[in-house]
Amino acid sequence: MNKTPHQTLEHLATILDSVADGVFTVDSSMHITWFNRAAEQITGFTQQEALGRPCCEIFRSSICFSACPVREAMASGHSVESREIDILNRYNREIPISVSASVLLDASGQATGGVETFRDLSRLRALQQEVSEKYTFHDLVSRNPAMRKLFDILPDVAASDVTTLLQGDSGTGKELFARALHDLSPRRDKPLVTINCGALPEQLLEAEIFGARKGAYTGSIEDRPGRLAQAEGGTLFLDEIGDLPLALQVKLLRVLENREYQPLGAKGPRRADVRFIAATHRHLENMVAAGTFRQDLFFRLNVVQLAIPSLRERPEDIPLLLDMALDRFNKHYGKQIRGFDGEVLNLLLDHPYPGNVRELLNIVERAAILCRTEQITVDLLPANLAPHSTGNRRPVSGRPDTEQLQGMLIRHAGNRSALARELGVNRTTLWRWLKDCNLG
């Protein structure tokens, strides 16, 4: 049975009201001509309020006045798909949505307006937030079982006031662990003082840790409190303890044993009410065996040892860390980068990260600073990233063909040194290959 135009419209309205996505249509002057039930629910405006109004006054999106998807679709004739933005609903609540838009054509192919469909992402965002919070512990992010185990015991270790040794490669976040231990401890209201034992020569380091009295050495014109005194009542974090000179190891041992120390040039000892956390990327047991680290100090420090896995031992954390880093640098640099290009993501997931989390953060920060679009693309990655990321992508054996070379050149954003490194040839050979393939 043929339907009348009125029945067809009613049928269409029923269908549109049944879909879970918000749908509205606009005429060529951007006034709303249709507004379905889901659109009412997401925006908070009723159909009656919306019909006839300029769509920007109802939709109230972050891009209404800069990159309206409907205008874009109507101008280009092409659909806009799944753009993630936010709207301000009737009750001034910001709602994340995914929006798509297309141009509406009449029977003769003339544009008569546009249609916009949108999906509420609030629930998805809430779940993402929940996942992120679930795997976050005092600025530390991980879903790795070994790391989760560390997170579990951290509060107990922190409460115990015991000397703790953090062992992990450079860039694994030892300082963040020290911060978490301090923040969870009863000493949290007192200072956390850090000193890098590898950063200063022996004489200066001694004065830096223990302090010096006026006249203790040439140029010492006033009493100078050391880090131990600065950390009084709080925590002293001795970073790179493996680099502490042997002479100072004895002095530190005395503090750990008797809670007493003597500033340079002082006549008598002082008491120290300080909790010690030490960290190193070295294997102190090996150093003890080699005679470069005192065994008694090692045992004093090693009451509780927390071994922090390197990033290559917990690759499942890379996506979490990338998200966290992007979020952090978006906020820091006022950017609105929504994610990583597929190829970039593959490179970042494959990369072995010899510099651990610090290296990952540096890569994302650099890309975020340089990024001018909504997505981080391969040209924003450092040139040395791709060759190292070929763990799964072995160096090409023999000479690649033209197509392969072209693809590699694009992946390296034209950086020939990086491409030469990946191929394991020198730049001259690569130049000859490119010339032979008319790519030079």
């Binding site: 009412e40 006054e57 999106s61 301000l88 009737r90 001034n92 509420d120 609030s122 629930r123």
Partner: protein
């Protein structure tokens, strides 16, 4: 601090696009500033001003510096509500349409300070029915005894 219902002359800011109220305060760069006297039912000619987001101060501070007492706007995110209130400005939200009409409605007392100002987390569920709400953070409506 003055209020939207004060009958003494005061300066009002209206974010706009063309001759209509800007639907989202956070996107506003163009403002009409008008001096209005509700007691005499009188409004001076609106003067157009532009705020540059790349320059200090913030929009709230800038409006304060422009000796504005209150803002008539449409949608406004809670963070802007807080910022404006911190500068001692009153806010009339949820006002939409042609600027002349809106000012007329305000002079006639048809716009009130409670007009659709929400989003601060104190309001109840934003959906027509709680069962429709898919936002897990959405506060529940108060239960009746």
């Amino acid at each position: 601090m003055s209020t939207a219902n004060d009958h003494k002359p005061q300066r009002i800011a209206i974010p706009h696009y063309g001759q209509r109220i800007m639907p989202r305060f956070g996107l506003a760069r163009q403002f009409y500033l008008v001096t209005a006297d509700r007691h005499k039912h009188q409004i001076d000619e609106p003067v157009h001003h532009q705020w540059d987001p790349c320059q200090e101060p913030s929009v709230a501070r800038w409006l304060k510096q422009m000796r504005v007492s209150g803002v008539i706007c449409d949608g406004i995110h809670p963070r802007f509500q807080t910022a404006l209130k911190a500068e001692g400005l009153w806010i009339l939200g949820g006002a939409w349409g042609e600027i002349g009409d809106v000012l007329e409605r305000w002079l006639n007392g048809q716009l009130t300070a409670s007009n659709d100002l929400a989003g601060t987390g104190q309001e109840t569920c934003c959906r027509p029915s709680r069962s429709h709400c898919r936002d897990r953070s959405c506060p529940k409506p108060p239960t009746r005894r």
